[in-house]
Subunit: 345 residues, 2 copies
DNA sequence: CTCACTTGTGACTGCGCTGTCATGTCTGCG
DNA sequence: CGCAGACATGACAGCGCAGTCACAAGTGAG
């Protein structure tokens, strides 16, 4: 075969020998350094690490597994039912991946973690992958996804990262717009927005959709309250809104916040939907059963995952073919009992 | 090195050459068959597949990746916040895995899927793993986990599967007992149970704990209603209980069902907790914000994952060492507003 | 009946690493 | 001063597969 494999961009991935040559040692010594073996002098270690850095060397996990007989991987069997709501996006990705004949490597990153998304991507490249899915990312500034494998970004603008990125639309903007319009059509003069953290692209899209719906009808845009997706932050926002007493309709950027919001309004003696209408986002499984049942926007996680993966697999297997963009999924507003016309003045 | 690697049990994993020899063909032809290449006669294909079956041959994914330059894997970057509630178990596993220097391979299986857990495990073995975690399994009859890597089973009796299994206790029984006792201590004569599907070990443990708490105090055990974990099934159960009119206290096997249950009771004109008290299980993020805020048992997903993984990694790296069993995590009953003394007669 | 082409198969090689063994060089101790 | 042991490095083989090329046998057109 021709050595090209992992790095598709033309440049060939450096091997341990290359590092060895540059550092003036044997290939075996490079291996020693990278495995933290004993009996390597400090001087040599530094030279090797320096050379590796310079070349952008990355241990080839397949070769390592083959030679050592150990994969350094642990498998997890999960039951799909445990992963509902936004988590079900992962289930969708898993199934679509398996159907396409690929295996899944999962890395998790928490908001505020120093390594962040870039670190997670690094970790995946170490493991060896043909493609990467970044699910619902946050804006961490200019992330240098200078990666030579195709990247699928779910729920972020296509400009995210640099090269070889395909994006699958989520239509979050249209969905947020529909939610807002629903409230306006009920007769509310304007709609308040309880936004998600604005570092999340998903939160921004929802904010934009809300703004657009109001702007279309020349409605006043009340100040935005920003939550952190949690029910607790929704509760805090609810207290603010109740104290203010202005709002008759609120669009919350996810169901958890909507539920916390409703709780705070109820605690403050306001009735939902008679005094204040609330719309959520996601349609989590309990949304239909909370009090009152929540009007919300259903996310088509499965379709999103399936469609995105189709694009990604195509980018892997037929890099030259023009990506056939995904048709936007239909907006699915589920009207339940948390919305009603505004109270008579 | 000595060929032993993947299969620890002593038997050496068969290679393509072994299959080739048995089938009377070349190694390359075996490769052809397994890659579905053109130009293999039907006769040869059958012979190869037969020989492979006989030997229990499994393509070595590391060698394949090394030779072909393609890993056939796709990486996913998720943000931890999307995985809450039971799903956060996966986050915990992922972090613990990474901290231990391992990578994660995830396979998902849905209830009722023909291949089931055994199929998922097969898929992991195909990918190549040093150990396997089965998270919250269901009883699919005698699952032959005749596997040569250590298996960690979270939330099932140690007898699950066959060999090299370590189990991490979840203390579900004690937790269910505590939930039930809480209701009895409030003065309820007995406690109804809305159980999870009994194929799930987790559901059985909770049922057992409930029974034990009642038996301890010689209380009558009302008939058990079995749900499917969903809020919808909780709602159905709630209608039954409301029609019956007997129950003053219900312990639901998870929060979703508890929320559905409360909704049904409320719809039927019963007040929670004045007329009927309800306890849930899991402490999902919205539990504190639904109406009324839910008394529930908090699951220590993170601790569970961390502890279990410690055992698994030890089984991988020091197969001979006696596993140090995990101390049971403390029971964490979170009392909120959905429970109260029974109504005066 | 020949020639070009399709079909079916095997020999050989190398992917990039780790394990093993050999070979030093440097200590400290009797 | 000589020798055992710790320390430091390299040469070499081989992990199990897929890619490449060679080649034999069958097939249909001219």
């Amino acid at each position: 075969m021709t050595r090209a494999g992992v790095q598709g961009g033309g440049a060939v991935a450096p091997r341990a020998v290359d590092v060895a040559r540059l550092a003036g040692v044997s290939q075996k010594t490079v291996s020693r350094v990278f495995n933290g073996e004993r009996y390597v002098s400090e001087d040599v270690r530094r030279r090797v690490l320096g050379a590796a850095e310079e070349l952008g060397y990355r241990l080839n996990s397949a070769a390592r597994a083959l030679a050592s007989g150990r994969t350094r991987a642990i498998g997890v069997v999960t039951l799909g039912t445990a992963l509902y709501g936004p988590a079900s996006l992962l289930v969708g990705i898993e199934r679509a991946t398996r159907d396409a004949g690929y295996a899944l490597r999962v890395v998790n990153t928490l908001e505020g973690e120093p390594a962040g998304i870039a670190g997670a991507v690094e970790s995946l490249l170490d493991q060896g992958v043909d493609g990467i899915v970044v699910s619902e990312p946050i804006d961490e500034g200019p992330v240098a996804l200078g990666v030579d494998v195709p990247v699928l970004v779910l729920g972020a603008p296509a400009e995210f990262g640099a090269s070889r990125v395909v994006a699958a639309g989520v239509a979050a903007e249209a969905q947020a717009r529909a939610a807002t319009e629903h409230l306006l059509e009920l007769g509310h003069v304007t709609v308040h927005h309880l936004a998600g953290p604005q570092r999340w692209f998903a939160a921004r899209d929802r904010l934009t959709g809300w703004r657009a719906a109001l702007a279309d009808r020349d409605r006043r845009q009340p100040p935005v309250i920003e939550g952190d997706w949690s029910a607790a932050s929704g509760y805090a926002a609810g207290r603010e809104l109740a104290a203010d007493g202005e709002a008759t309709a609120v669009f919350a950027a996810n169901d958890d916040m909507a539920i916390g919001l409703i709780r705070a309004l109820t605690d403050a003696g306001l009735r939902v939907p008679e005094d204040v209408s609330v719309v959520g986002f996601d349609d989590i499984p309990v949304a239909a059963y909370v009090t009152p049942p929540l009007t919300t926007v259903r996310q088509q996680f499965d379709a999103m995952a399936r469609e995105g993966l189709r694009l990604l697999v195509q980018a892997i297997e037929k890099p030259d073919a023009e990506p056939v963009p995904a048709g936007d999924p239909p907006v699915d507003l589920v009207v339940r009992a948390s919305t009603a016309p505004p109270p008579a003045r």
